[in-house]
């Protein structure tokens, strides 16, 4: 999938979206499609940032509330966008306020994530690109996927539950 860019490596393409007036990007190869908000099934007992599950033509997609994941303030608009990403067989929808264009940026404008970015957010960013008029924060898709793949409990069964 990502082989083509290995050869040139002079530019990278990102699908962009807005969240709390900041511009975020996800590597284009990773994005499957973008949809309006769909009927969502909440998952009880899951972490706060898991908004729920949606049905994308028979496929189950885990929807992530980026505001809660990144620790951002504010609310989503009534009809947020789902940026549906696919990686290693895992489908993830990132909730965005509004979607932007697909941009192609030269690799020279790459900057590491500034130290001033708060911890929760910085964890999920790969780097920042300087664009005309805006900074593009690139989401590290691997971290997001790893987060979803991580099993917190392993086997929580059979543990000693005390009743208090």
């Amino acid at each position: 999938m990502s082989e083509s860019k290995e050869e040139k490596k002079t530019t990278r393409q990102f699908a962009t979206f807005w969240l709390s007036d900041s511009l975020y990007g996800v590597e284009v190869e990773w994005v499957q499609e973008i949809t309006r908000r769909m009927a969502i099934t909440p998952v009880p007992l899951s972490p706060e940032f898991i908004e729920g599950l949606i049905n994308l033509r028979g496929q189950i997609v885990t929807t992530i509330n980026l505001r809660k994941l990144f620790g951002l303030k504010g609310e989503y608009p009534d009809s947020p966008m789902n940026v549906v990403c696919s990686s290693e067989g895992l489908l993830v929808a990132l909730l965005a306020d509004e979607t932007g264009d697909v941009v192609e940026v030269p690799v020279q404008s790459y900057e590491p994530v500034p130290d001033t970015v708060p911890g929760e957010l910085a964890t999920f960013l790969e780097c920042v690109f300087k664009m005309d008029g805006a900074l593009l924060s690139v989401i590290d898709t691997k971290v997001v996927v790893d987060l979803l793949r991580q099993s917190e409990s392993g086997s929580s069964k059979g543990k000693d539950h005390t009743h208090v």
């Binding site: 009927a39 969502i40 099934t41 909440p42 998952v43 009880p44 007992l45 899951s46 972490p47 706060e48 940032f49 898991i50 729920g52 599950l53 949606i54 049905n55 028979g58 496929q59 189950i60 885990t62 809660k68 620790g71 895992l90 993830v92 911890g119 929760e120 964890t123 987060l147 979803l148 793949r149 991580q150 099993s151 917190e152 409990s153 392993g154 086997s155 929580s156 069964k157 059979g158 543990k159 000693d160 539950h161 005390t162 009743h163 208090v164």
Partner: protein, 885 residues
């Protein structure tokens, strides 16, 4: 050897290659950084698998290499720190040899010399690892265990080397153990093809299909079934008769198509079990046992993916039966059994599932031994051990890190054993059951869905959402409330709900509560879904039962599935997603509550009575006493250690308050000696001015009394005698007992005790990098009465600690994996500092293998918890603080 087909051989080769690649990647990791426990576990598992498969096929030398590597990795797992060059080199050499076997042919004779050399090197590496352990660790029982285990392995491996290389004795070999491994049987020949062709159906009637094509068709049919469901929910509302009949036709066609396509994927169990007689014979030879294997129902068909998934678990179980179950001929003779042990493998259909049963007439499981072992391994503590039922004790076998064999042989492995089997079976939606009778034998039953793709399910509603329950786990539905004549109603002691069902008490869990949903409606209109999965049956209280439907199971992301409440998701007829409930995960954990363990009600005359309910209990004189249910707040179990003294009274800290313990024996039976039970049930009663706990010997039952003649008594602690189920129960007068017990003095000083016992909120430091865990962890701790200072990583925590007043923080709770400074570094730093050493520290982490724990403890963590126990951190902390005074 005739049973070894070319197909099986190429399968083995493919598996070998797969493992080899993984091992190669992981070994590279091992070489460049210090070994992460996960990587080591993965390596160990892979070599374990390869060892098993190689022996299964009779590729002795390859199996020995794998065995030696496994042994070395096993030692490496117990040693902290980076492996030496010798160890890594030896492992790489082993891997290289595996590769050569794969290329030259697994039965290659030329490699024998190399095998001896590499095995010796691996043995040397293992020995070095074990000797590197500090003596106090080496002496502790588990390492001792492992060392012996390793020695046994080394002997087992080197002995056959001697046989095949008589001219060059391997340096580390111990020749007298020659009989442990039989020399490999004659190598497989390539004429498997011919025999296969001979037995095949005439070519014109069959067609070969690529497996992935069949899978793809199956997926499409799955989608079609979904669309059909969607369409049916639409057409059922339509007035248009033509559309309706079209809908019905599609329904029929889709159902037939589904059945037929499923058939294409079905394979008889014989495809799987064909190798087993050989396997059992080999094992029997190795162990000098006589074992007969009978296979029944081998024509039973299963989906090929399911079949594939049960292969390894079944081999493992079979090995266990032969190795641990069946006794040696001498032992059998002594026990009055025929010399030849009998293992039966039976496959059969049962309520829409296929059951695979492995039964032996061996020695059976000894619950006492299991308990002892679990205690030794620290899997359970003593108070837990005393309350465990027989089934729960057997269940310990499936706990990670458990192995019953006192000795370990090459036949059944250790460590990665039954827990892996259980996980594998559960991951395909099956379940595993274990029955055993000491001295008579054991039976392991795997219940496997026919297919993993489409599952008949029932939909229920709880709150605003629908949830699916697999029909195979469903037993019956019990309607509550007036609509069902009020025949069944929920009875409840605080949080423990139950219903009476045909004379038995069935504990009930509210799905709303389990999922932290708001209670949507009164219990009156709810339904209890009776479920049975593995353990005992239980009831699940749902708001509404909707319909039954076929669902297509879709996997969930690990993090979503995490709480082990959901096993998957599915798309419903209206296109919305519904979660599938994992019944094993929801089932009540064993608890102290009475209703679950004492569920036998005598007679059925009680059903539907409206009289008062009583908790019936025993004290030391074994006669029955009762307390009215309405007076009781809760039932608890406490242990002797929890008792503190306030003046002359025994008290227990209980939910931030003080519970006054009343030893009811001392009131009613002053002449009897005080009972010395370490753990005891307590009936908690809240009176006007204090919380009182009645200490009793045993809680017997919950019973109701109709307006029966009763005998009033006066002037004693017994209010009246009641007849319940033809037994006499004395109702105690709680108020009188309490007054007598405390006299008049306690009222005044009760409040002062409370004040002195409940200090101002102790302040603790909490380091955790994941924001959401940090937040919920802090909340749990705050609920337990702590003031929490949360930090994003170890470095920040250290800073906070350095800037704190002396004694400001009473404890540290920390994650292990964190950026900047991890938990281990933080703990070591604290332990080494003069200012803070001795600060109680608890680790709460996902890294919870034994070696992690050992590392954590070395760094100074007093308690090492899995994140699954996050919400119990507070309790552990309290206990720790109490221990440290």
């Amino acid at each position: 050897m005739a049973s070894l087909s070319q197909e099986a051989l190429s399968e083995f080769a493919a598996e070998c290659e797969e493992i080899q690649q993984r091992v190669s990647t992981n070994l590279a990791k091992l070489e460049e950084n210090s070994a992460s426990p996960e990587v080591l576990d993965a390596l160990y598992r892979d070599m374990h698998t390869m060892k098993g498969s190689a022996h299964l096929f009779g590729f002795g030398p390859l199996g020995n290499i794998a065995h030696a590597m496994e042994a070395c990795l096993s030692a490496l797992r117990s040693v902290a720190g980076a492996p030496s060059k010798l160890v890594v080199d030896a492992l790489f050499e082993g891997l290289g040899l595996v590769d050569r076997f794969r290329i030259d042919g697994f039965e290659s004779k030329e490699l024998g010399v190399d095998v001896t050399r590499v095995v010796s090197k691996l043995v040397e590496a293992s020995t070095q690892l074990i000797e590197a352990l500090p003596p106090e660790v080496r002496e502790s029982s588990w390492v001792e265990d492992r060392t012996n285990d390793l020695r046994a392995r080394i002997k087992a491996i080197t002995a056959p080397m001697q046989i095949s290389n008589k001219g060059r004795p391997a340096s580390a070999s111990v020749p007298e153990k020659r009989e442990v491994l039989a020399p490999p049987a004659s190598p497989p020949t390539n004429n498997g093809m011919a025999s296969q062709a001979a037995s095949a159906v005439p070519a014109s009637e069959t067609v070969r299909l690529r497996v992935d094509l069949v899978d793809r068709i199956m997926n499409l049919v799955g989608e079609l079934v979904l669309v059909r469901n969607q369409m049916l929910s639409y057409t059922s509302q339509t007035e248009n008769s033509e559309l309706l009949s079209m809908g019905q036709s599609i329904d029929l066609v889709a159902s037939d198509l589904q059945t037929e396509v499923m058939k294409t994927r079905m394979q008889p169990v014989s495809a799987l079990v064909g190798k087993f007689p050989r396997l059992v014979r080999d094992i029997a030879n190795q162990l000098n046992k006589k074992i007969k294997l009978t296979i029944e129902g081998s024509e039973t068909e299963l989906d090929r993916t399911v079949l594939e998934a049960v292969k390894d678990p079944l081999v493992h179980i079979l090995r266990n039966s032969c190795d641990h179950g069946i006794e040696t001929p001498d032992q059998r003779k002594e026990a009055g059994k025929p010399e030849e042990g009998h293992v039966v493998l039976r496959a059969f259909h049962e309520s829409g599932q296929v059951a695979l049963e492995v039964r032996d007439d061996g020695r059976g499981l000894d619950p006492e031994k299991l308990l002892q072992k679990a205690l030794e391994k620290g899997l359970i503590d003593e108070s837990k051990a005393e309350t465990m039922s027989k089934d729960e004790i057997y269940g310990l076998i499936f706990a990670p890190g458990f192995s019953t064999a006192a000795k370990v042989s090459s036949v059944s492995g250790r460590g990665v054993g039954m827990d892996v089997v259980k996980n594998n079976i559960e991951s395909i939606g099956g379940r595993i059951e274990l029955e055993s009778e000491l001295g008579k034998g054991s039976r392991v039953t795997l219940r496997i869905p026919l297919t993993m793709a489409i599952v008949p399910a029932m939909l229920v509603r709880s709150g605003d959402e629908r949830y699916a329950i697999s029909q195979s786990e469903l037993r019956e539905l019990v309607g509550l409330g007036a609509r069902y004549n009020g025949e069944h109603r929920l009875e409840e002691i605080e949080n423990a709900m139950m219903i009476r069902l045909r004379g038995n008490l069935l504990s009930v869990i509210s799905l709303n509560e389990r999922l932290n949903l708001k209670e949507a409606m009164s219990c009156e209109d709810q339904t209890v879904v009776v479920l049975h999965s593995g353990g005992r049956p239980f009831g699940l209280l749902v708001d509404e039962v909707l319909e039954t439907t076929d669902i297509v199971v879709k996997p969930l992301a690990d993090l979503v599935r995490d709480r082990s409440v959901f096993s998957g998701a599915t798309v419903l007829g209206d296109g919305k997603v519904a979660l599938i409930l994992d019944i094993n995960g929801i089932a009540p954990q064993s608890s102290n509550r009475t209703a679950e363990s004492k569920n036998q009600l005598r007679g059925s005359s009680l059903d539907g009575t409206s009289g008062d309910s009583f908790i019936v209990f025993k004290i030391s004189d074994a006669s029955l006493y009762g307390v009215q249910l309405s007076q009781i707040t809760r039932l608890e179990n406490f242990s002797e250690e929890q008792i503190e003294f306030s003046g002359k009274h025994e008290v227990i800290r209980y939910r931030g308050q003080v519970l006054y313990l009343v030893d009811i024996d001392r009131v009613l039976l002053p002449e009897l000696a005080k009972s010395d039970e370490k753990n005891f049930p307590v009936i908690v009663i809240e009176t006007e001015d204090r919380i009182v706990g009645l200490r009793v010997s045993e809680i017997v039952d919950i019973e109701s009394v109709e307006d029966l003649p009763r005998e009033e008594t006066s002037g004693s602690y017994v209010r009246r005698r009641l007849v319940m189920n033809e037994r006499v129960v004395s109702e105690v007068d709680v108020a009188m007992i309490v007054d007598h017990y405390f006299g008049a003095d306690t009222k005044a000083n009760a409040s002062s005790v409370v004040n002195s016992n409940v200090p101002t909120r102790p302040k603790i430091l909490y380091a955790e990098d994941m924001a959401f865990i940090r937040k919920s962890g802090a909340t749990f701790l705050e609920k337990q009465g702590f003031e929490v200072v949360a930090c994003e990583d170890g470095a920040i925590a250290w800073e906070k600690l350095e800037g704190s007043e002396p004694g400001e923080f009473v404890a540290l709770v920390s994650d292990i994996e964190m950026p900047n400074m991890n938990g281990l570094e933080l703990a070591s730093k604290i332990s080494e500092s003069s200012r803070f050493s001795g600060l109680p520290m608890i680790a709460v982490t996902t890294k919870s293998t034994d070696s992690d724990k050992a590392k954590g403890e070395a760094a100074g963590f007093a308690v090492y918890l899995d994140k699954a126990e996050l919400e119990n951190t507070g309790e552990h902390l309290k206990k720790l603080l109490k221990e440290r005074g």
